[in-house]
Amino acid sequence: MLSKILINFPLIAVVLIAMMGLSAMVFKRNIVKILMGVTILESAVNLFLVATGYREGGIAPIFTNAPSTHMVLPTVQALTLTSIVIGVATSAMMLSFAMIIYKKYGTVDVRKIRKLKG
């Protein structure tokens, strides 16, 4: 039982972090906090990707030091790197939007900035 929880621990963490991120996105009224929610959700997804790539006792795919040619396929790590880079770009862009919104409206409260309707 305990070992099962330990093995799935990263995945449980993924679910918890994703819930935190999603609830921030849905319930917070401050744009900056919503964007923090997005970033937390991104971290959850990244953790999920890395967790799927973990092999117990696996050998890191560094050819010069590997004791044998059986190594872990590092695809998910590469995916995670890409995803982190994309996440940085997204956060930077959305935070700059938040800045402009604050400059133009004087607030970052989503209840007060609704000019778009219909």
């Binding site: 996105m25 919503i34 991104e42 695809t75 994309i86 997204t90 778009l116 219909g118």
Partner: protein, 526 residues
């Protein structure tokens, strides 16, 4: 030698050329304006030419594969890989080629139009850099044969699209719309990424064809399917996930709106690719359930879109709701095809025609909706307002814009001899044999569309000259050229539909239905 090596590397150039243009534009724009205009015109001409050449190659010689980083471009399965493709592969089949044709024609017309319509605005270097990045995103999404690569291009197109929507701050309203679009796109893309993780964790593959050949339809696969189709349906603006379209389409610069339509159609491509090539033909896959899912999305989009469009006062918002409504036709047509995919006789009797109608409608919609958004932009360019209650009498001073608007409006309403009629007729006839009720809904929606556009036409162009628009003249030649190009395509597709159906649409439908061919193109026949 040069020609043949260019022909060999077309899929890579399709991404490389617009990417290079995007990042060199600020550098060249620093020298002077004229040089930047020439550079942008050159870049988009080259991109479109490459796109059309690649599509021609696909339609004449069959699926084109391109392996990035391999010793030879066609070396899909390296010797030491154990029979699995390990590199990023572009798999351009007839359906991808059709989407590339759409993107090439639209992007060319739109950029030519932008050269004038945006010429008096500031920050042009960034504008064109983002425009080309959006083109990169669209081209990549429709050309790639790799699921993670698809995600990357989806993000590129979302980011570039959101930045362009917010580009003209417009007292903050545009930024609000951009933020909304960026948030939803990011959320959607994260769902797609989780789905990719779920699939990779089970099958050790990211290549679409390899994944398709290994799928078992486990519980995790079903979750992955939901996480793939819901965001993609959202990105193509299907009701009930359409709420971002009116804001985004209405506030973006007009030329960008026309390109965003193409980008949402690239998501539609992704949706169909996942449903047909990845999951279709699995033994456990219930065609009727998923077919009806797509059909219901389609009917809701058609009906809600058009009813929301009728009371709108802002001409671009109105057109945005019509875009939602027209997306419904594509979903309806292809959904009927999906629902009868397991039933060979029904598929041959009307399923394939319905799909052909739906897919023909994608290209038709991109052309006439692009045209309509460009005319809306032309009107805004000269009058400075998009409010239908304030506009009027422009027919006296802007005759060309009026003619192009009429062509677009008649095409969207499905009036012969324009292209909307050709595809809608195919949808009506074939859907009628599936379910007469759906066909009647589709016709009613067309009538409502016509009614809505008659109203718009009347309030913008008819009536006496207005004093406040006395200075409104016809728009400059480059903008007319952009609109004329799309108008000519609309007429050609309407006058000779059978040529285009035989040449492009039928191969695209065959490519979409034939999952085995999609897989064996990568993995070899087995």
């Amino acid at each position: 030698m040069t020609i043949s090596s260019i022909a060999q590397h077309l899929p890579a150039l399709l991404i490389a050329v617009p990417l290079l243009t995007a990042f060199l534009t600020p550098l060249i724009g620093g020298v002077n304006r004229t040089l930047r205009m020439l550079w942008v015109a050159l870049g988009i001409s080259a991109t479109s030419a490459i796109g059309l050449a690649l599509a021609w190659k696909v339609f004449t010689t069959g699926t084109v594969l391109y392996v990035f980083g391999a010793a030879a471009v066609g070396q899909v399965l390296p010797m030491d890989s154990g029979g699995i493709p390990i590199r990023i592969i572009f798999e351009v089949d007839a359906f991808s080629a059709l989407m590339i044709v759409i993107a090439s024609i639209s992007a060319f017309a739109i950029t030519m139009y932008s050269l004038v319509s945006e010429s008096e605005c500031s920050g042009q270097d960034g504008f064109y850099a983002l425009l080309f990045l959006l083109v990169v995103g669209i081209m990549g999404m429709v050309a790639t044969g790799d699921l993670f690569n698809f995600f990357v291009f989806l993000e590129i197109s979302s980011l570039a699209g959101a930045a362009l929507v917010a580009y003209r701050v417009d007292k903050g309203v545009a930024v609000e719309a951009g933020l909304k679009y960026a948030l939803l796109s990011t959320l959607g893309a994260l769902c797609v990424l989780i789905a990719i993780g779920l699939l990779f964790a089970q099958y050790n593959a990211l290549n679409l064809a390899t994944l398709a050949s290994r799928l078992q339809f486990t519980t995790l696969d079903k979750i992955a399917l939901a996480l793939l189709i819901v965001p993609l349906a959202m990105k193509c603006g299907a009701v009930p996930m359409h709420f971002w379209t009116p804001d985004t389409y209405a506030t973006a610069p007009s030329s960008i709106t026309a390109l965003l339509v193409v980008s949402s159609q690239a998501s539609l491509y992704g949706l169909f690719r996942v449903l047909f090539s990845l999951y279709g033909h699995l033994v456990q896959f219930n065609y009727a359930t998923f077919g009806w899912f797509v059909i219901i999305l389609g009917v809701l989009s058609m009906f809600v879109g058009v009813t929301m469009a009728i009371p709108q006062k802002d001409v671009k918002r109105l057109m945005a709701y019509h875009a939602v409504s027209q997306t419904g036709y594509m979903l309806l047509g292809v959904g009927v095809g999906l629902a009868v995919l397991g039933n060979r006789s029904a598929l041959n009797a009307y399923g394939l025609t319905a799909m052909a109608g739906g897919i023909f409608h994608i290209i038709n919609h991109a052309m006439y909706k692009g045209l309509l958004f460009l005319t809306a932009g032309a009107i805004f360019y000269r009058t400075g307002t998009r409010n239908l209650n304030k506009l009027g009498g422009l027919g006296h001073t802007m005759p060309w814009t009026m003619v192009f608007f009429m062509i677009g409006a008649l095409a969207i309403a499905g009036i012969p001899p324009f292209n909307g009629f050709a595809s809608k007729l195919m949808i009506y006839e074939s859907v009628f044999r599936f379910s007469p009720f759906l066909s009647i809904v589709a016709m009613v929606v067309s009538i409502l569309t016509l009614a809505s556009f008659v109203k718009v036409f009347h309030s913008i162009f008819m009536g006496p000259r207005r004093e406040e628009f006395a200075a409104a003249r016809e728009v400059p030649a480059a903008m007319i050229f952009g609109m004329a190009l799309l108008a000519v395509v609309v007429m050609l597709f309407g006058l000779f539909p059978q040529t285009f159906i035989d040449g492009m649409i039928t191969p695209a439908v065959t490519a979409l239905v034939d999952r085995g061919a999609y897989i064996s193109a990568i993995l070899g026949g087995h």
